[in-house]
Amino acid sequence: MSFNRCVRFFALALLLVTASGCSGLHPYRNTLDKNLTVRTKTDSGSILTSVKARVDIYTVDESCNLAYRGSVALQQPQVEIGLPAGGANYLNFVFSSSSFLAGARGATGFDRYFTTRPGYEYVAEASYVDGIYNVILKERKAGSKRLRELDDGECTPKR
């Protein structure tokens, strides 16, 4: 099993544990200077189904081990988050849907590795519309208007 597949499996396991209501999730201590703006759009496509989004935030060490730092609910169209500048991060965007009549629940996730750079700002566009979800991560120099889309990062152990 590849490393990235392992991470996905881990994220799935976390989703399942979350869905079962014994997650151990806690709010992210959002005290650092804000350098990540998350713009969220959710639409389940049905009035009988609701979708909630959140982002689970992890820091990543040189061996690619993840340390869970907390979660931020993406209930507003725009949320500001402060990530450690100059650090490697792993963000897992989770979209949870629940159907009122069927009593069914599901959760799916979209994970991203990226390293924040001092003096740079980041914008994540997270969407879940009619069962199709996506997260586009962009970067710009502080004060600049020009955003550059970041490639999907992968973690490569440095030691």
Partner: protein, 170 residues
């Protein structure tokens, strides 16, 4: 005991209908077998994108959206079912066409009574063949029912619009 009985029944049905060992083992065999198969559908359409571009979209989205393991649980007062399914996408891009194959392997909860490829049976195959610099023909071999969100997402990849991953829990 219940599983053994169901497996025996399925085996009997498959053997008597001559289906054992006829599960497609390659994408080519799947293409050949699907159009006449029960619940199989070949959908053909054209898009205003090059096959190479479509291949790039497959390469970008298929690994992160479809290389997943999915666990589903359903429970009633008299039954409990827990199924774990591993999906494996394969993307092949060359000058002749861009291809996306999706295989499905049940790791728990479903007994495979036929011989299937290592990554599981073929669920879908999509071929994008060049028709011009910015035009391609899409041949989408897929189940005729179910998997609506998955089918929509893959069609979006071929068209280059509303790109994203399908929620496989739907």
């Amino acid at each position: 005991m219940k599983y053994a009985a169901i497996t025996l029944l399925l085996l009997t049905v498959l053997v008597t209908t001559g289906c054992v060992g006829k599960m497609p083992q390659t994408a080519d065999e799947f293409r050949q077998a699907l159009p006449g198969a029960f619940m199989g559908k070949l959908e053909t359409y054209e898009v205003d994108r090059s096959a190479a571009e479509i291949g790039k979209t497959f390469q970008k989205y298929a690994p992160k959206c479809l290389d997943v393991s999915l666990a589903t649980t359903s429970q009633t007062s008299s039954s409990y079912q827990h199924i774990v399914t591993q999906y494996t996408p394969t993307v092949i891009v060359n000058q002749n066409r861009s291809e996306l194959h999706l295989q499905e392997k049940h790791q728990q909860g479903v007994v495979a009574v036929y011989e299937e490829p290592a990554a599981g049976h073929y669920l879908m195959v999509v071929d994008a063949t060049p028709l011009g610099p910015n035009k391609a023909k899409i041949e989408f071999y897929r189940p005729s029912m179910g998997f609506e969100t998955l089918v929509t997402a893959i069609k979006n990849w071929t068209r280059g619009e509303n790109l994203g991953c399908p929620d496989l829990t739907k």
